[in-house]
Symmetry: C2
Amino acid sequence: VDTSALLRKLESIATLTAEERRAVASLPATIKIFAANEDIVREGDRPSVVALVVEGFACRYVVVPSGKRQIMSFHIPGDIPDLHSLFIDVMDHSLAALVPTKMALIPHNVMCGLIDDNPRIAHRLWRDTLIDAAIFRQWMVGIGRRSAFARVAHTFCEFVTRMRAVGLTEGNTCELPFTQAMIADALGLSTVHVNRTIQELRIKNLIRLTGGSLTVCDWDGLQQAGEFDPTYLQLKDMQVA
Amino acid sequence: VDTSALLRKLESIATLTAEERRAVASLPATIKIFAANEDIVREGDRPSVVALVVEGFACRYVVVPSGKRQIMSFHIPGDIPDLHSLFIDVMDHSLAALVPTKMALIPHNVMCGLIDDNPRIAHRLWRDTLIDAAIFRQWMVGIGRRSAFARVAHTFCEFVTRMRAVGLTEGNTCELPFTQAMIADALGLSTVHVNRTIQELRIKNLIRLTGGSLTVCDWDGLQQAGEFDPTYLQLKDMQVA
DNA sequence: CGATACGTTGACGGAAATCAACCCCGGTGG
DNA sequence: CCACCGGGGTTGATTTCCGTCAACGTATCG
């Protein structure tokens, strides 16, 4: 089973010993492919496995009574979006694949064993959930206090930075196969407004976005537009390509 | 040093052994009083202590370039708002007292010792940071997808529920000594609009709010108005009074 | 008793939502 | 082979929720 994405992720924070790498690499897991828009875990579920993104993209979301959806996070290969289900039994939100996505399902007891036997990995994972929380906070700030323009720019900055951290960029380009409706639900905007905002970013020559691929043409400009400061992602010595 | 609030909080999730209670109760800490609006920790700091709210209220916030402030969470007695600084060295946001507030400052190495020696307490604390994250997600949903009216109602529901969990309510009344400007910054609204929304809640006889004290007149009504479902707070068998 | 902070109210403006077309393109089935 | 279909993207017209500005009331406090 391919846990290399997870390894890359854990090591994007700090290095592991050979033994720790082995412990992670030998985790027993079941591979499962999910279709685009298919739920992986649903609000109210009590999962007995955690889900590691191997290939593709997932998101957490909730739907409010008015029928509107809020996406609370995007997840890229190496992420374990429902790691918290180890400690919190009932899901307060759903987890879905955004595109056809390969997940590795790891039983709770296996993860608990890994954590109990490897305190350093446990700390690393705890830290990872804390970075998750930091990302939530940034999204909250964006939705609450930034203009639509800054919000979209910030999201693209964050996405590219996270993708780079796990080695999924080529130069200033990476996959971003989300529909504008998905982006709208993530930013608390309407699709129409997202569309107009992306056009504005294109006209200002900050990005190119076609065929599910995002290219940052002007990193400094985009960063400034999005008021983006990567500190909260806590990456060790990341550089812009 | 009074860590009883922390004990109540930890036990609002699950019970501790006598030994664990002793370990928590005997934590060495320094008491410090902060004035209203005084910063406890600032964005960019690298704290070497964690701060436990003993009496009063604190919040996390950031200020965006336009000068607007987003408050990301309210913290009540028993909370350790910057526990994450154990694992994440540089603060990506500030922490401030909202009213005159008594904090217990506990050195990092003491907390690390507690965690290393008491795996169950460590899990409890991890879990606590995960509930924190769940609260962030709920706020995000509110700011992104709920009307101002529902947002305010939701916040009051959440606040009362959390206060009740640590024994700080009397019937349907609890302290809520925040200015409307603070509430506005928490909800991503303007003070003017918060004012009008609160009036609406009053007219509909859902709450009374005067002199820093909140009374819920109609819990069902308020809960419905706020689309509030307390699942995400993960409290064991909490009941409405 | 003035200063200051907080709450309240009204008038006005604007960013983004909503509504409603329309286009483009890749599938798919007759 | 092409008509049909549906999802995604784009555009314009209109509406609305909420922000901004500005004034005024009220309470607390030195």
